[in-house]
Symmetry: C2
Subunit: 344 residues, 2 copies
C-alpha cells in the first residue's frame, strides 16, 4: 500500500476522531533524557536485544579490532513515526493537516459547502472517504503547499508547541520513546552520526527534531514537496509547491539516503515494512552492520499492532528478520519505560 | 545559458583538445595544506578581502556580541568548479566524460561509426557539435548512467587518481586553490560546518572531496541523476538512470541547499553567475551573512575570465556585488599562491 493510500485511510478514520473529552491538560514537565550513569541504556531491560546493540557498538568502535569502522562512516539512520515517536491513533502529520484545515477554514468560507473540507470540519468521515484520492490531494495541497519554506516552518513550530495527542493529551514531542532517545545519545557518544530517514515530510520534522532528538536539520531525510526559488517583492523565497519531489518510504528510503547522506549506513532502525528496504540496504553492506525493528507489542503502555495495521504495518519485516539477522525489539519485553514522562 | 548548454559548448571545444604533448609527468608531491601559525590565512595577502573575512568570522563567533551566531547555524556553502578548484580549460567532469567515452570504446565498436562518439574518439569537434543537444545527452547517458552508484563511485575514484590536467599535467586534485583550503580550515576551526554546493554532479565529487577538502560526502550538494533501488541477483543496488533529478545551478542552488541542508547558510562562496542565487539567498538572511566571489584575474598563474567566458561566466555578479555588499576576491591581488604545489 502506498504511503498516500495509507494517509488517505488514516484521514478518513481521523476525520471522525477528536481528542478524548475530559482528558484535561496535564502539567507539562521537562522530559528527562536519562541521567549519566554506568549503563548507557537504562530504559532497556537486560536481555538479548540490549546485548546485541552494545555488542555491535563495541565491535565497530574497537580500535584495531577486525570490525572497526572509522568514525566518519558510523552512519546510523532512524525512521521517525513509530520508531522515535508514536504514530497511533493517527500519524502526527495527519493530525497537523486536519488542524490546519480547521485553522484555515475562516479564510475559506466555501469549505463549509465543499468536500472534503466540509467533512473534515464536521467530523464526517464518510464524506471525506467519498472524496477519494482527489480529496486527499486537495487537503494536502491546502495544508502543505502555497507557503514559503520559512512560513511553513513557523506554522509547524507553532503547532507542535501547542497541539495535543488525542489519547494522552500531552504534546506530541512528549510522545517520543525514552529508550530510543538513550540509543541516539549512546550511538553519538560512540562516534556515530545519527540521521532521521522518515516517510513523513522533512519540513514537518526539521523545526523541532534538534531540540527533541538532538538531530540537526541537515541530518533529516524525509518525503518532500518540490520548492521553487523566486523573488517576492524583491525578497528571495522558496515557495512550497503542491507537487511531490520524493516519497521517502520503502524503496524511496535508500534513494533518500543516497541523495542526502551519500554513503550507506552501518546501522538502521525502523518499525514497519516502510523501513524494509532501508534495513535491507544497510545490512547488505559489506562489513559490520546492524538492523533493528521496533515491534509495537504493548497495548497497555502504548499500542500493539503489526501485520494487519494500516498504520505502521509490519509483516514482511517480522517474517524475514530472523533469516536476515535483524533484531526485533519487543517494546513490552525490552523497554522499561516507553515515554520520558513515565520516569517521574 | 543553462548548464547543459554550457556543457555542450565545452564538449565541442574539448573534443578537439588533448593534453599538451611534451608536458611530461612531474613529480607528485604531497600538497602541504598550510602549517599552523598565527595567521590562519597565510596564502591570502593582507588587504580588504582578507580583513572582511576575518572581521565576519570574529563577529559571528564573538560570544555575547550582537552578531553572535550559534555554532550549529554557522553553515558555509562553497561552489566547487572555479571556487575550490580550477574549471579551465574545461570542467573536470567534462574531461572525465570524454575519457570515459575513450575507455568504453572497445566495448562499443559501433562508436567508431556513430556520432557523437566517433567525433569524440577522433577529436573532431565539428562532428560533435553537429550532433546537437541530443548528442550531448547520449554522451552523458553513456558515461554517467547504467552503473550502480557504487560502481560509479569506484570509476570516479580510479579516474581522479590517474587523470591529468591538460595544461599542468598534474592530478586534478592538485589543481585546488590553496587560499580556499585555508579558508575551509579556518571556518571549521571557528565552528562552521562547510558544505559544497556545486553545479557539478554530486556523485562525481563525493568519492574524493573528503580527502582533498576535508568535507564528508554527506556535506556535498550537487546536480544529480535519478537513482532506482532494485535487487540485482538478490543484492540490493541503486542504479543510476539517464534522467536528471536536480540541476544544482543558479536558482537550483537554493533548492539543493534546502533539500539537503535544510537551513539557510550564513556564508556563501562562488565564482560565477551560476552562484548568484546562492549568494542572494544567503545574504538576504536576516542577521549576519557573508557573500564572496572568487574573480579569476590571473592569466599568468591561472586563468583570467569573467563576462564573456562560456565557463564560469561572471557578469551579473560583478555588476551587483558592490550594492549587495558581496566581496570580490581578486585572485591576482589577494592570493599569494594559487595552488598548493606552488608552495614548494
Amino acid at each position: 500500500m502506498s504511503r498516500l493510500r495509507v494517509w488517505f485511510l488514516v484521514l478518513i478514520v481521523a476525520a471522525g476522531c477528536g481528542a478524548e473529552p475530559g482528558a484535561g491538560v496535564r502539567e507539562q514537565a521537562t522530559a528527562p533524557r536519562g541521567t549519566p550513569q554506568a549503563d548507557p541504556l537504562p530504559s532497556w531491560n537486560d536481555g538479548a536485544t540490549k546485548a546485541a546493540i552494545v555488542d555491535f557498538v563495541g565491535r565497530v568502535t574497537g580500535d584495531g579490532g577486525p570490525e572497526f569502522v572509522a568514525p566518519g562512516e558510523r552512519i546510523a539512520t532512524f525512521d521517525n513515526d513509530g520508531t522515535l515517536w508514536g504514530e497511533q491513533p493517527i500519524y502526527v502529520q495527519v493530525a497537523f493537516a486536519l488542524d490546519r484545515v480547521k485553522a484555515l477554514a475562516p479564510k475559506h468560507p466555501e469549505w463549509t459547502q465543499k468536500q472534503p473540507f466540509k467533512g473534515v470540519l464536521e467530523g464526517d468521515a464518510k464524506a471525506v472517504a467519498a472524496s477519494g484520492e482527489h480529496g486527499l490531494l486537495e487537503i494536502i495541497a491546502a495544508t502543505h503547499a502555497g507557503n514559503t519554506t520559512e512560513e511553513f516552518s513557523r506554522i509547524v513550530a507553532d503547532w507542535i508547541d501547542t497541539a495535543r495527542h488525542p489519547k494522552s493529551n500531552r504534546k506530541y514531542t512528549e510522545m517520543v520513546y525514552q529508550p530510543m532517545l538513550e540509543l541516539l545519545a549512546y550511538l553519538r557518544a560512540n562516534g556515530f552520526k545519527t540521521f532521521i530517514v522518515s516517510g513523513g515530510g522533512v519540513e514537518f520534522m526539521r523545526p523541532w527534531v534538534e531540540r527533541v532528538y538532538g538531530i540537526p536539520p541537515e541530518q533529516v531525510v524525509g518525503s518532500r514537496a518540490k520548492v521553487k526559488y523566486e523573488l517576492r517583492d524583491g525578497t528571495p523565497v522558496l515557495m512550497r509547491l503542491a507537487e511531490v519531489d520524493l516519497v521517502d518510504d520503502k524503496a524511496g528510503k535508500p534513494v533518500g539516503i543516497h541523495q542526502v547522506i551519500g554513503r550507506r549506513p552501518i546501522a538502521a532502525f525502523g518499525n514497519s515494512d516502510g523501513d524494509f528496504e532501508m534495513l535491507e540496504w544497510t545490512t547488505a553492506r559489506p562489513g559490520p552492520h546492524f538492523g533493528l525493528i521496533v515491534h509495537h507489542t504493548d497495548a497497555e503502555r502504548e499500542w500493539a499492532y503489526d501485520r494487519s495495521s494500516h498504520i505502521g504495518q509490519l509483516a514482511r519485516g517480522l517474517d524475514e528478520a530472523p533469516k536476515r539477522g535483524w533484531i526485533v525489539a519487543d517494546m513490552k519485553q525490552d523497554w522499561k519505560v516507553i515515554h520520558p514522562f513515565e520516569m517521574h
